[in-house]
């Protein structure tokens, strides 16, 4: 057993998990409040990455400006999806919104490929040398990715659990009718939630693009692992989704020496299916809910 190899794989898995955690949190927020798995999440990631890359180049190469442009663009895209489509499916069987979200995923991706083509793109950031830390070889950009992801997640948690907006959001999630009778405008709250979900999703796409490359299919390919993370964590449980994402990220990386690179994603699916069958309420859903 090569300890250094596995340590590096685990670290890489941690970074991948931290990236997948962002769309997973967005998925679980939307599922918890709106009641459907939003399959357009993956392609909103892609849109965020393209917008950020375009923005970065337009803003004289500033990656911070790119991140802001990309997050804002994907937040607005998610809001438009809610206002034009998803809001009409409330109270309907989840299949409607699920099928429509697949349609929006295709529409988003095809719009991107029509105007931007299929070529891979990269974020123009300076290459940095990897340094050693014990057995680990660490690329500094990975640390920035990790820090950004952690920062974004902390921000989302503050929004959800500290601010009045978050309290209203959770009230709407628990019981929309009751919230309405208490004078909470569910429309406003839901719009805010979609903005947050979209921004987080887009940021996930940007970080994914920085870690690897930007392609039209990157988000769609990240969608199933993000679903898996959400299900592992228990629907509507953001902390669980993060734990799920890290578990899947690390498990996928650690499995590569045994199953090869191609099946790595299959490992994520297998974990998801096992979680669905063995514990549909989620492995990390410790607080049992009355539902």
């Amino acid at each position: 057993m090569d300890f250094a190899l596995f340590a590096n794989l685990a670290f890489n898995g941690l970074i991948e998990g931290a990236v997948i955690a962002l769309p997973a949190v967005a998925l679980t927020l939307v599922f918890g409040v709106m009641g459907f798995p939003n399959a357009s999440t993956g392609d909103v990631m892609t849109a965020g990455a393209y917008a950020a890359q375009t923005g970065q180049i337009a803003m004289a190469g500033s990656i911070v400006a790119g991140v802001i442009v990309g997050s804002v663009a994907s937040a607005l895209l998610a809001l438009v999806f809610y206002l034009c489509v998803f809001r009409f499916f409330q109270g309907r069987p989840s299949m409607y919104a699920l099928v429509a979200s697949i349609g929006l995923a295709f529409a988003t991706r095809s719009t991107l490929t029509f105007f931007l083509g299929y070529d891979q793109r990269v974020f123009p950031i300076p290459l940095t040398r990897a340094f050693s830390f014990g057995p680990l070889r660490i690329v500094p950009s990975d640390l920035y990715i990790l820090a950004t992801s952690v920062g974004a997640i902390v921000l989302v948690f503050l929004l959800l659990y500290v601010t009045p907006l978050g309290r209203r959001m959770r009230a709407v999630a628990d019981n929309p009718d009751l919230a309405r009778s208490c004078g909470i405008s569910s429309h406003r709250v839901l719009s805010a939630m979609w903005l947050i979900a979209g921004a987080v999703t887009g940021l996930g796409g940007i970080l994914f693009g920085i870690k690897t490359v930007i392609t039209p299919l990157m988000g769609w390919e990240a969608l199933l692992p993000a679903f898996a993370a959400m299900i592992l964590g228990g629907i509507g449980n953001p902390a669980g989704a993060i734990a799920g994402a890290l578990t899947i990220g690390i498990a996928q990386e650690l499995s590569t020496p045994f199953v090869g690179f191609t099946y790595k994603i299959g490992v994520g699916f297998a974990i998801m299916v096992l979680a669905l069958v063995l514990r549909p309420s989620g492995l990390f859903n410790l607080s049992a809910r009355v539902r």
């Binding site: 459907f36 798995p37 489509v85 009409f88 499916f89 309907r92 069987p93 989840s94 299949m95 409607y96 919104a97 699920l98 099928v99 429509a100 697949i102 349609g103 929006l104 995923a105 295709f106 529409a107 988003t108 991706r109 095809s110 719009t111 490929t113 029509f114 083509g117 299929y118 199933l224 679903f227 898996a228 299900i231 090869g260 191609t262 099946y263 994603i265 299959g266 699916f269 297998a270 998801m272 299916v273 669905l276 069958v277 549909p280």
Partner: protein, 295 residues
């Protein structure tokens, strides 16, 4: 022109088999299968492997049906535990895993390069007739058989019970019937039809590769089903005709607009499919939930 119409009819009939199968699964039973293309791929690869190694279609056609049904069986068992939308995600994951396996296990599937020189229908059956006419005839026969079979099924006590399962599974349980037994049968039969469609596909196009079996195909079939209305066999037939008219029509559009490249046209096609799924669920929700049925 005749040749072109025959080609279109063949493609339409292949999609029709897929749509009829999905309609049995989702339209009648409520089993949301997002991995239909997986069964299609299994049928295509089984036929390709048997007939490029000297086997006849007399063996490969039934093998494709049985193989697709057999692989679908463990996936079908998941429907015992999962609610509709989770099952949809699980089946999507299953079909993507299968595609990865086709890419990775190149010692048997030739990986991303695909399998070439699959014999046409006439060669595969050892008959000295026009292969396109032959496959068209067989496809018509297969579709008629499938429609007859499924009509008999859905207009029987079996059909009543699967529709009851779609409407309310727990109420079916409370009547002392196990929904899982019905769901597994229905899923496996739908997969078998997709496997047959895959076999014809392989013979007709003579070349298959993993990138022909993307989830997009599954959603083409969903679009056809929703267009025609779930829970209606004639709807499935009409929906797949409209689908193929659209797919083929988009080629005409490109001929008329010379400035548009094939790559751009692929984007436009995907955009239209996506918007169709959105607009159909928004504006014609009966298509998705079977409220259209006349009795």
């Amino acid at each position: 022109m005749t040749a072109y119409l025959i080609a279109m009819a063949i493609v339409a009939l292949i999609y029709m088999l897929l749509t009829i199968g999905l309609n049995l699964q989702y339209g009648y039973t409520g089993l949301a299968n997002f991995g239909h293309v997986g069964s299609f791929a299994i049928g295509a690869y089984i036929t390709a492997l048997i007939t490029t190694n000297g086997g006849f279609a007399y063996v490969s056609l039934p093998a494709s049906v049985l193989g697709a049904a057999l692989v679908a069986w463990p996936v079908a068992l998941l429907s015992k535990r999962l609610r509709t939308d989770y099952f949809a995600i699980a089946t999507l994951a299953a079909s993507e895993t299968l595609r990865l396996a086709i890419i990775e296990e190149d010692w048997i599937t030739n990986g991303v390069h695909g399998i070439t020189s699959i014999p046409n229908m006439s060669v595969a059956l050892g008959l000295d007739v026009d292969p396109n006419i032959l496959i068209l005839t067989l496809l018509i026969a297969a579709n008629l058989l499938a429609v007859a079979l499924i009509t008999r099924m859905v207009k029987s006590p079996f059909g009543r019970t699967i529709e009851a399962i779609r409407d309310d599974e727990d109420a079916v349980r409370a009547l002392g019937k196990e929904p899982a037994t019905f769901k597994v049968k229905v899923f496996v039969i739908g997969a078998g039809l997709a496997g047959l469609a895959g076999a014809f596909y392989a013979h007709y196009f003579s070349y298959i590769s993993p990138e022909q079996f993307l989830p997009l195909i599954t959603f083409y079939v969903w679009m056809a089903m929703i267009l025609g209305g779930t829970g209606s066999i004639l709807g499935a037939v009409a929906g797949s005709l409209v689908l193929v008219l659209f797919l083929e029509g988009s080629r005409f559009v490109r001929d008329i607009l010379p400035g548009v490249t094939e790559v751009e046209m692929a984007s436009v096609r995907l955009f239209v499919v996506g918007m169709a799924l959105v607009l159909l669920t928004l504006l014609r929700p009966q298509g998705l939930m079977g409220d259209f049925r006349k009795r």
